[in-house]
Symmetry: D2
Subunit: 356 residues, 4 copies
Amino acid sequence: MSGNCIGEKLKITVFGQSHGPAIGAVVEGFPAGITLDWDALSFFMARRAPGQNAWSTQRREADRPKILSGLNEDGVTSGAPITAEIENTNIRSSDYPDLHTFPRPGHADFAATLKYGDQWDHRGGGPFSGRLTAPLCFAGALCIQYLKEKYGVEIAAHIARIGSISDDVPDTVHPALPLYEKGAFPVINSQAGEKMKEEIEAARQAGDSVDGQIRCIVKNLPGGLGGPLFQGLEGKLSLGLFGIPAVKGVEFGETLHRGSENNDPYCVEEGRIRTLTNHHGGILGGISTGMPLHFTVKFKPTPSIAVPQQTVNTKEMIETEMALRGRHDPCVVPRAVPVVEAVTAIVLTDMILQGA
Amino acid sequence: MSGNCIGEKLKITVFGQSHGPAIGAVVEGFPAGITLDWDALSFFMARRAPGQNAWSTQRREADRPKILSGLNEDGVTSGAPITAEIENTNIRSSDYPDLHTFPRPGHADFAATLKYGDQWDHRGGGPFSGRLTAPLCFAGALCIQYLKEKYGVEIAAHIARIGSISDDVPDTVHPALPLYEKGAFPVINSQAGEKMKEEIEAARQAGDSVDGQIRCIVKNLPGGLGGPLFQGLEGKLSLGLFGIPAVKGVEFGETLHRGSENNDPYCVEEGRIRTLTNHHGGILGGISTGMPLHFTVKFKPTPSIAVPQQTVNTKEMIETEMALRGRHDPCVVPRAVPVVEAVTAIVLTDMILQGA
Amino acid sequence: MSGNCIGEKLKITVFGQSHGPAIGAVVEGFPAGITLDWDALSFFMARRAPGQNAWSTQRREADRPKILSGLNEDGVTSGAPITAEIENTNIRSSDYPDLHTFPRPGHADFAATLKYGDQWDHRGGGPFSGRLTAPLCFAGALCIQYLKEKYGVEIAAHIARIGSISDDVPDTVHPALPLYEKGAFPVINSQAGEKMKEEIEAARQAGDSVDGQIRCIVKNLPGGLGGPLFQGLEGKLSLGLFGIPAVKGVEFGETLHRGSENNDPYCVEEGRIRTLTNHHGGILGGISTGMPLHFTVKFKPTPSIAVPQQTVNTKEMIETEMALRGRHDPCVVPRAVPVVEAVTAIVLTDMILQGA
Amino acid sequence: MSGNCIGEKLKITVFGQSHGPAIGAVVEGFPAGITLDWDALSFFMARRAPGQNAWSTQRREADRPKILSGLNEDGVTSGAPITAEIENTNIRSSDYPDLHTFPRPGHADFAATLKYGDQWDHRGGGPFSGRLTAPLCFAGALCIQYLKEKYGVEIAAHIARIGSISDDVPDTVHPALPLYEKGAFPVINSQAGEKMKEEIEAARQAGDSVDGQIRCIVKNLPGGLGGPLFQGLEGKLSLGLFGIPAVKGVEFGETLHRGSENNDPYCVEEGRIRTLTNHHGGILGGISTGMPLHFTVKFKPTPSIAVPQQTVNTKEMIETEMALRGRHDPCVVPRAVPVVEAVTAIVLTDMILQGA
């Protein structure tokens, strides 16, 4: 219950603060005998890494995980907990004011001080920093490899919307999954992608930030995972997805107003039972149906903006104004795409390993 | 992990199938020494009960819970698990076809058979039935009373939308909470309410069903509940809310496109730190801020419709048509309003009791 | 964490108080498709039931469980939670004094009042009563049937000691498991059994009670269950076994002083790797080795005795004397034998279903 | 469920293998605002460390934990997970044969291969090594400090027996707790201690090992912790204690044969209700009574011995003989004394933080 952790048979514990010595994750319950694909892992983590292009923060970090445990002498997973450590090397604490006293609007600062008192590590947002998604991506990369190799499960997310610019809705019955290159802008329609970049650039120019939405698709997930009520796949996935900083909403499938148009008729396709449409998003009664999963995740605009904002000096109880300097993403959405994939992979691997 | 259960310090286990002998719940960890308000409990459960008016199913049930354990000789909670049993008395199994062989579109039937084989109790949807929300309301009513008496926490949900008709958005900074009478249509704007009823009636006439959305507001919740990552209040609430049958989406607060308009400035009001607006919905960094919680829950249209639909005879692998008869709600949303309140109360009570 | 519950994939929640309306259990995660053997279940529960012979309490109860949920229309397990209710029919509350004010030495009364205040249901010991082992036996009987049918696992416990009289130590390498008749005295050596009965009878005559020990053996348990540290089979089993009222100690295998005599040499027997001796009790490194499990469970003498004892009137803080009347077992050990088997079966079924 | 982890509100996750890059622990849920006493922590960990005297292994390691997360800029606990890493620096893998093929009698090797296949990290016993108790001691030291400072709780264990030599039984009603110096032999009666050392030395001379028992006493634990059935303090403590390598038995209090002598009469002492004797060991009905806890933990003799033993070449299924060389403790008991204290502190801190 006290946990930076998620999962039951596969359990991920994330640790670290933005400006502490290191961040990392312990991955318990990962199967023995898997030879990790380090190239795929590096590539995946690089998709999340900052500082690679115009539309993300300039903080550059190696983010190369050091493995402390869990591999045997041949570098193969051994069944013991896998621990990855990522050093914090590029820290400029002076960028940050005293956040216990001057809470930033839209950030966790005020709420954190309510909970932990003035002792929480406020430097760079401490444990609330988006930086904590790096170890999540490490854990997710292991799961993505495992799901792909053992079950043929494929997970791909894309930007569904930035501000008021939306991407195309993919075919969710027979989706073709994109594979994003490092630094690529993860959209389906590249023209929409260009407009999204403009939207982000406009926000940056204004010292402002912009919101957005990510859609995630999962192919080849076995049917029969999940269950009624609190065993449902939606609840398990949403518990993970709301763990990603800045997420405000999660929606499964695409719901139409009338039952007669929203219900997906069953059909026989190549000897298998499928649905003609996929409004249900691959889950009915909390259980996977064998159709592709699809769901969207809504992100708020980065709260860190250069535009001056009103806050309160909490020690003196006086309203005051603050403007934030430093390196800030005007939009977290592009870098969050692999994070959504990672969390999805973690939750689904846990469900599969549980036989749930 | 295998659970019709939710919570850690307060743990609710729901049991039963639509057409089995009984449904019910075990409530573990509820504090000792509480004298239950039976009138309030009956009133609350009646808000969910079917058969009371034109816009809900005609199945009438007493739904009077029988308490098997957890009270002492004076009828006061004793600290032991509280078990409530609700008999299934009004069962017409013949309304239902063989759902293992003829899965209803939009229902759990096909997915359930993938998971459990042909042994799951398909009568009336078995463990997937909306009827299982009755014991949830029992448990929720206990929590609502506890939260109100001990912390002054108040929870009220209303219909935010039916089909294309939306209710007014309430003031989320200083909300006035409605108290719904039994059988009342739970909206803020009664004119919108009338149009919603028309929308439901139109669906019923067409042998169809209609979707909708519920907004829930929580006042006086203490700040400091929750935490970063997977400790977040959003994740815990969504795990509960997605446990309600037919829920497809959960969204916290109200997100605007630009950070400068979405961030809620801090201010001092009557000696307390608050925010001028409440786009964040009472949660930042996964932690309650002391502002009112508000979130919306999206429901799909009832999958049970009289309109003929295509399905598959799964034993013979032949596409076929089915039309459902029987008593069906053309819209689950009105009766789901207290269920959303109940689940919210359960999750928040657990968090408070945990000191989380 | 707040739980009268145990297990993860198979989760048992026990509810009820000695003199409340009913006791019972919810069994979640039990596999679908099992046709319960009601005769075996009744027989097993009867081994625990009181009032059948000279050496147990005279309280007679039917203890016939009523199934509220979890079976389908054919009476086969459906995958939904199985709920059993056992009514409390033979209640004589007047046998008991006010236990909040006059705590019985050796009983939970004083500790319970420290925890719950005066609201806990003290009648007959409330939730601390040995009567709560009846629903445990119900759940255990399901697991015993499942383990036997699916894995050939056999579980048999016997009395290892009553007071100062010990039973023979069985061959733990190739044990022959006894099958106890209803009402039979569960020992290996019937001569020792006669002396044990005399020991119990002597305690009864003296208005006193006597302690003892139970040994449990499990045959055909698959190897590879458990894990290092807190995943260990010993820890999981002991968590369950200490849940039985009056248990004070648990010991696995039989430990000799010197490593050279305690280590069990490996050998090849009928093409399988086994150990020549079985001091390790079937578990090494927290993991089952494929050898028979054996462990002993130590029970204290029943604290309910007719001999006058000193207690304190806790309201007036005055030392006083009390003598208990009513129906008390002079020794809980004989009736606890099936309870040890039940808890063992519950824990092992959970481990197997987890793939742990 | 898959866990090298223990606890609910305070959750300890242990990672690492004997000969991997590092071992360590993540401590979640530890309160914010605690200034760690590094001297006490070092001192405590040194009590467990090897190589300090004649009666322990010669493997010398610094075992100085490096803190990766959880402290704020002032070195005070911040509420975020505390991660400690201990490097493995003094590794002589060549001491060890191929344990997948030649399982050592009495060790986890064979069982581990059953569970994980040949991929588990067998070097030095991998995740089963007693070395994993170092991070447990780190976590335990934090808890010991917290319990002492906030609640005055004191925990002290001592050797109760080595082979056939027993220490004195302390007064368990008003115990005087010893504070052990680094390298001190933790006994009550130093004459018995000398004989125990002789027993250990005799085993070493013979290339053999010897078993023993540890008694642990906890003073000033608040009453009211725990609960009936599976909430009991005995079950929670035993789950932790059986997580210590080589533990085979746990027993609470001291049980006498007859109820009339075993029941502890209540009395009033200095205005508080206590018991005249303490056979119950501070726990009744699974709940702490406010009396000192006392329990014993039984350890088997170290399975690593120089005496030749029979094993099986598991690849060729041929019985063979093996003799182990390398640095082995002839008796783990002296170094396990702080480990028992650590685990006890971890479990009790969790219970207190839960308000359980």
